[in-house]
Symmetry: C2
Subunit: 141 residues, 2 copies
């Protein structure tokens, strides 16, 4: 399952902050402090649909998204996880994991197109990244 | 994996048309002819998140969603599949599979809240259901 020669889509790269590599995927944080909003990108070239992954990789992707969802929902004290693979604009396969709260700016609507992104400050970001890396390091994917 | 005593959420029931039962899930068609829009509902009681399914059921759900996505994308000649488990309004776990086209009314935006639903006519619906049941009967989940 080691993937090489993988290039992250430019828009995903511009809009997110790198957190860590999981066995199959890159884990990114969307630079929008309105919500704990993560993007999981399997390091597999030239695919845009989940069904284009091998069966083993589909199972691994589900495991990564599912375990992250559970841990992050708990950590951020959310009330609902929103997971989605859309890709109408960014073609490279990526899965959104968004921890929703009844107090967030877009609740109960989906987040896409709902409110302009509010970028993290550099100071906030450093602590958020370290904290996330430490939580995620404990998960067995 | 036989599930009993499962009640479909009232809103899901009101907004959709029953197509068939898959090994784990009910397959429903959203009553909105703007898009080929399907809802997959695992017949498991009282859960709202994918991670609340057993590992085996998660794998089965992925298989059902993935195989349906591939077949339906091809059948409806779409350019992209949108899959999502949101559930901010309807709490019962359900997964959306929406076949998108560059000519559809909401492209490239997500469909939720984008355009009012256009219900199928009864005549259209009968032929659509029969056609879908025949396609899906050939899939090995």
């Amino acid at each position: 399952m080691i993937k090489i020669d993988f290039d992250l889509d430019k828009r995903l790269n511009d809009d997110t902050i790198y957190i860590c590599d999981l066995p199959l995927s890159k884990l990114l944080l969307m630079n929008d402090s309105n919500y704990p909003w993560f993007i999981v990108v399997p390091r597999v070239k030239k695919i845009s649909e989940i069904f284009q992954l091998s069966e083993d990789d589909q199972i691994q992707l589900n495991s990564e998204v599912s375990k992250l969802s559970q841990i992050l929902l708990d950590y951020f004290d959310g009330c609902k996880v929103n997971t989605a693979a859309l890709g109408n604009i960014v073609n490279q396969l990526h899965v959104h994991i968004i921890i929703r709260k009844e107090t967030d700016i877009s609740w109960p609507n989906p987040v896409w197109g709902s409110s302009p992104a509010v970028h993290y400050s550099k100071i906030d970001l450093n602590s958020v990244i370290l904290e996330l890396q430490s939580i995620i390091a404990k998960i067995v994917f």
